[in-house]
């Protein structure tokens, strides 16, 4: 059935036109890739863990996997803007919110893994550990920031918040530093891997130094 025909195109329905357009954009396929890359590992992880096939201690394994996963996604999210600028690929920016939301999802799973499987709903222990152990407090602070960022990530909220949205979302840099410190602080002696992450985080901050300069000037 032919309904409205747009100038210069063949006899296609608007729906099919839209679909065609979406399917041929790079953003669409990049997003598909991000969904798969973030979700498939989780399916695999929880399948193995639930069936007791994931290392001798599946609890430790899921906490570590989601923790590292959150941090990797976080770094990737924060790289989007400089990457799209330097490579002049503006479309990359359209993947940033998705990556950010997956960062939050992984951090949420990390936290829930700890509550459900490590302390096993012992709420007194859960709260006690977060309050008493500095590395946990720092992790919680990072999580709270991520939560606020996720809650304000929708277009409607963003529009309503106006300028304060950007101000709030600049705290993502504080959150990533806190997450790096939390990781570094959590290990017993094996500081090289968290050390590499801290170095990456510092490199990222350096990459965005102009932004911070503007930010600090703007504040005063």
């Amino acid at each position: 059935m032919v309904s409205k025909v747009k100038a210069g195109t063949a006899f296609d329905s608007p729906f099919k036109l839209r679909l065609n357009k979406v399917l041929t954009t790079k953003v669409f396929w990049l997003k598909v890739l991000i969904h798969l890359g973030a979700l498939l590992p989780l399916v695999n992880l929880y399948y193995l863990a639930l069936s007791d096939q994931l290392t001798a201690d599946p609890v430790e394994a899921v906490i570590h996997f989601t923790g590292i996963g959150a941090l990797n996604l976080f770094l990737l999210t924060l790289l989007v803007s400089p990457l799209s600028k330097y490579s002049r690929q503006a479309f990359l920016m359209k993947t940033r919110r998705l990556l950010g939301l997956y960062t939050f999802a992984y951090a949420l799973l990390h936290l829930l893994n700890f509550l459900f499987f490590e302390v096993q709903f012992d709420l007194a222990l859960f709260v006690g550990e977060i309050v008493k152990r500095p590395y946990m407090t720092v992790g919680m602070a990072a999580f709270v920031i991520l939560l606020l960022l996720a809650l304000t990530s929708f277009d409607k909220v963003k529009r309503r918040m106006g300028k304060s949205w950007q101000k709030l979302h600049n705290y993502s840099y504080l959150a990533v530093v806190l997450a790096g410190v939390h990781f570094y602080w959590s290990v017993k002696s094996e500081i090289i891997e968290p050390g590499v992450y801290l170095a990456l985080i510092l490199a990222l901050l350096f990459l965005r130094r102009d932004k911070f300069r503007r930010w600090f000037k703007g504040k005063r």
Partner: protein, 341 residues
């Protein structure tokens, strides 16, 4: 003495998951895509020591260390130990043995080529009769017995393991400690060629080598203190400290030093590895104590590793002296265990 009233046997052979299965699954986990980039990064960095990213899909068949059957006498009623044993596959694939990598799955992967024969264990220092035991003598000098013990890691997880070995007291008595012998110092083999963690700072987790531990002599002489040469009826695999290791069941696991080459009797308290690294976190005594928290986590409870996967409700209260108070509490009479943690 160490066996509580038997309730019911919960030992079952089909709980045993073979180590190779865990190793395979580990590979699965490694290949899980970019989220796991951290893990991939670490394997790439350590590709010198074992297969890195590029070997991921052509992992070679690695030789597995051969364990021999041991003959030993069963502790009366040992098979009726009231708590569920940790499956053998988990005992030998979840190890803190930084000499073979600081991540718990690494020793099982990196230690399979470890050579334990020939071996020499020297007992020296403040003794009248210094002794050296070679590999065969580790198994033939004393009669071997099975002991099922709880193992409580300082990281707040625990296992139940059937060890095979002999009391350290027998060995020490044979060397005849003199009157100056107040402490016993232990040392792990130092062989960076065989132990990749000793040559790579990254694999070895940043602790000092060789690993050293120590006990007071009365702790060492306690009948519970075991020199283990096997577990689950067979000789120890390297990741668990072959050919001979210490087992002190009322102390955190890091006291139970592995792959021992030297035992020295001393007049003064010897240095110990984790205490050197972080004295505010790890003391010389390291007795399991639910009332004294590690600065970064509570020690009041623990997760017992057996079976059941992610949903296992396995958090249990930690017992004072790991449940061995009846046998060892007297050793610490009058001591402030908050100060001497």
């Amino acid at each position: 003495m160490l066996i509580k009233i038997p309730k019911k046997s919960e030992l079952s052979e089909n709980q045993v998951t073979q180590e190779s299965v865990y190793l395979q699954r580990r590979q699965l986990l490694k290949g899980m895509g970019f989220i796991g980039a951290g893990t991939l990064l670490s394997s790439a960095l350590s590709s010198k020591a074992h297969g890195g990213v590029f070997d991921l899909f052509k992992e070679k068949e690695k030789p597995v260390f051969t364990r021999k059957d041991l003959s030993y006498s069963g502790q009366a009623g040992a098979e009726n130990f009231p708590e569920k044993l940790t499956p053998e596959g988990k005992v030998i694939s979840h190890n803190n043995f930084y000499e073979f990598g600081a991540q718990k799955h690494q020793p099982a992967e990196l230690a399979q080529g470890f050579k334990v024969n020939p071996w020499q264990l020297k007992i020296s220092g403040e003794v009248d009769k210094p002794i050296t035991l070679d590999y065969d003598q580790l198994f033939s000098t004393f009669s071997l017995e099975e002991r099922i013990y709880r193992l409580r890691c300082v990281e707040a997880w625990s296992m139940v393991i059937p060890w095979v070995g002999f009391p350290l007291a027998k060995l020490l008595k044979m060397a005849q400690p003199n009157s100056r012998a107040k402490y016993v110092a232990f040392e792990t083999l130092h062989d960076p060629e065989q132990m990749p963690g000793q040559s790579s700072r990254r694999l070895g987790g940043g602790i000092a080598y060789p690993y050293v531990e120590g006990l007071r002599i009365d702790e060492a002489m306690n009948p519970l203190t075991l020199m283990s040469v096997g577990l689950y009826g067979k000789t120890l695999p390297p990741q668990n400290g072959a050919p001979i290791r210490l087992v002190v069941p009322w102390k955190y696991g890091f006291k139970s030093i592995k792959s021992i080459v030297g035992i020295k009797l001393l007049e003064k308290e010897p240095p110990t590895t984790w205490n050197l690294l972080a004295p505010h976190e790890y003391g010389f005594y390291a007795n399991v104590n639910p009332g004294v928290a590690h600065p970064r986590w509570s020690q009041a409870s623990e997760r017992r590793i057996t079976t059941g996967g992610l949903l296992a409700r396995n958090r249990i209260e930690t017992l004072m002296f790991n449940g061995y108070g009846e046998e060892v509490a007297d050793l610490y009479k009058g001591m402030d265990l908050r100060k001497f943690y």
